[in-house]
Symmetry: C3
Subunit: 345 residues, 3 copies
């Protein structure tokens, strides 16, 4: 594809030679002269000089960068859109595979692709254009919107409600029992039935091997546009806010509330029964044990203000030296104290 045509397709302004032939997209360090790359993070601006890319997507304000460019208000988004011109994930053939087991009361909308060995339970309703790869199991009573994508190994448990355009990557579990036990008088544990369904709103994506538990009572809810990375654990009765980002291996204990646009980095732990307010950011490996204010940036285990944390962890390796220094100070101080001076009257 000529660069000029790509510019038109993704709606960017062409700067420089539009006749360059572009056959794909690559990172700034790996791109060849038939590939287009992008500069989204100014931190990497110095790499533009040495890139071998045939063209680059840059911010409209970048000016001449020395190679053919597509000017964009949002280079990272337009990189994503450019990539789609060259790569589309394979879409399974439409139709319901002969081996799929659909309960007689299940209802699957038109233009679906239901793969081999899928199992769809009683009373399930699925909207239009569903793509279920082989080996997806939908338990009884689930309600699912249009444009649902579920990859192999996905399990969706009883009575889950799922909106439109939801994507579940491989081996995701939605709606399995939450971890709830009452203690018997003899110290043994009594299982509490988990009655509340999971509700997943529109435009949510959950990456592979993540798990969203059903609620003891009430519901567990993932709100519109939230994106959940791999191996994330969402405990029972959590409420994950709109457009929240939860990175890999993070865990939310039961009844955690995330308001909208929260960002939790990887391996964060949240202790549950608390609220993290709008636009809060929590750094990787942090532990959250109480409410977090809107817009706060937190780090550490237990977490506190990230700017303070940065200084504290910078000081931490010096702790042994501090201990020694304090002993010296104490000795010097004692020496001074032990000297007997003539005091003024």
């Amino acid at each position: 594809m000529k660069l000029k045509e790509l510019a038109e397709r993704i709606g960017c302004t062409l700067s420089g030679d539009g006749s360059v032939e572009i056959t794909g997209v690559a990172g700034i360090e790996h791109a060849t002269n038939e590939q287009i790359t992008f500069l989204a993070n100014p931190k990497y601006a110095h790499k533009v000089k040495s890139t071998k890319a045939g063209a680059i997507i840059v911010h409209a304000s970048a000016g001449d960068v020395g190679l053919p460019a597509l000017l964009s208000e949002n280079p990272y988004l337009d990189f994503a859109r450019a990539l789609e011109q060259f790569y589309q994930p394979p879409r399974p053939e439409p139709g319901i595979h002969a081996t799929a087991v659909l309960h007689s009361t299940a209802n699957v909308g038109p233009d679906a692709s239901i793969g081999a060995y899928c199992v769809i339970g009683a009373g399930v309703r699925i909207g239009r254009r569903a793509v279920m790869h082989p080996h997806v199991v939908i338990y009884d009573g689930c309600q699912i919107g249009d444009d649902f994508t579920a990859h192999s190994g996905v399990c969706v448990r009883e009575a889950t409600r799922i909106g439109h355009r939801v994507i579940l990557q491989n081996n995701v579990v939605v709606g399995a029992d939450g971890y709830g036990f009452a203690k018997n008088m003899d110290g043994s544990h009594y299982k509490i039935v988990q009655s509340g369904p999971v509700v997943i709103e529109d435009d949510v994506e959950i990456q592979s091997v993540s798990n969203v538990d059903r609620a003891t009572v009430g519901e567990t809810r993932i709100r519109e546009g939230a994106k959940i990375d791999s191996m994330v654990q969402i405990g029972h009765a959590c409420d994950v806010g709109e457009r929240s980002i939860i990175c890999s291996q993070t865990g939310l204990a039961g009844s955690t509330v995330l308001k909208s646009d929260v960002l939790l980095a990887g391996q964060v732990g949240v202790s549950g029964h608390l609220t993290i307010h709008e636009n809060a950011v929590v750094y990787a490996q942090s532990g959250i044990g109480g409410d977090v204010e809107a817009g706060a940036v937190m780090s550490g285990s237990p977490a506190f203000d990230a700017a303070t944390w940065r200084r504290a962890v910078a000081a931490f390796p010096k702790l042994p030296a501090m201990v020694r220094a304090m002993r010296q100070l104490e000795k010097r101080l004692a020496a001074l104290e032990n000297r007997r001076f003539k005091e003024e009257e």
Copy 2:
């Protein structure tokens, strides 16, 4: 159901109007006037005044709480039992689905429900009333007791032994190879066969996406009544004690021994070849690198006594200020030292 009838069913003492109609159970903040709620944690006692619940389960000692109540010696347990009056998880129809593949030498007890596409290997024996949802795989030679429940995506590997009333939630793996490699002289890794089975005793429940590895030699054992949350990793040759509680995303490296009634909170790491003794409690995100005494309460990475830890982490954010303060002290001390005093003879 009238409150009076609920009282009789779960064996609580009625206090107040027994004619209230109860249609379900809910948390204290969400309950409506047709729902019953509960107060188990005195921390939330102040919420009783504002609840809209039609009735409440409280401790027998609570006295009049201003709304119809069921008096209980164990309110959280009776909440669980009340919930069962209104919700029972769906139980699949009995019978063995036509698509299930049972080896000719496998033996499944009476009243089983074996779902679509289950695979049961050679020599497997399963007790009475098993419920296996679709897509459960039991490898050769497993021995499983009565009232076994396995959800879709469960894999039970060769020669695993499982007791009565065991529940495995979705995508749990039991008995996969432990992580064992010997080093060849050239630095490459030589796989060590993992010969030892997993043994799961009675009344164990393992939540979704958790993994219990088989042992190199000997066995990996989960003892009676232990409850394991989601995404927990149990390494080879571990021995998890009776009634232990292991919260989500915790990992036990190989040959960890937990004695009975141990509680590990979420995201704990245990380095293996060590023993955590009876009734020990380990807080979330802690790292355990050595034996833990019975009844100890530990926190931190690496972990130490939790009360000390609490004071240490409270001091931690002040570390940069301490560094500065020490510099000031040193300056002041040096200034004092440099002043030349007349000493007493």
Copy 3:
């Protein structure tokens, strides 16, 4: 088997009575007089005296240890090889199960064992002697070498390339979409198609429930001989070096590069877009936020030199006492300062 025969089979030098009958292998504390044990770690040398084992594998330099012994240059490796004489994991019967769904364009090499309900997509090529347990799904276009082993629940996504002798334990996911989103102007997230395949080189093993994401562009690569433990997350476009060891529940964010022979202990987090160089070692629960030098040993979150870290964490519990001690020092210093001395002129 007589000890003498075992010595011959695994190529060790016999020391002592070769007529001892050996029926199995066990750890030094559990072995009976019909079992052979081993001493690989000198730390456990004191246990040799009390072992009830019938024989022991020890280093050739050990001398007489008081019981029949096999002398070895690499006792741990020879323990592994001895174990194989007594235990071989069950191998499913050869043949393609009647219920396996192979696309007409898929090609499976000779002597394969393809279990019930396996699904193999269009254009897939698999080498000789593959063992796929029931319920393995291979998406379209995958290329897989000889001696492939995949356990139940494994999903291998589109266009993955896998070398020879690769083992994937249960519920492993390879090639699911990486976590990539661009921000729309309204704050919502725009999914970036993940075009780059996963490449797994020869002799890699991935333990159960681990996940290796495909790349946005380029590829994600696991190099020859790397061994990945359970519940590990490998983000998009990572490059894991030859013979690297990654322990359970560790996570690599996108574009992490591990050079050869790196060792990451359990629950480590790596923030991505960085390089960990040859032979580096990272202790459990550490957080890596920048490049790591070859041969470095790191610990902590964020991580620094492990020797320094050990001293810092030893000092950490004393932090509250330090705060108090500093207050005392300050008071004593102020008291000194407030005394009015006669200074020398």
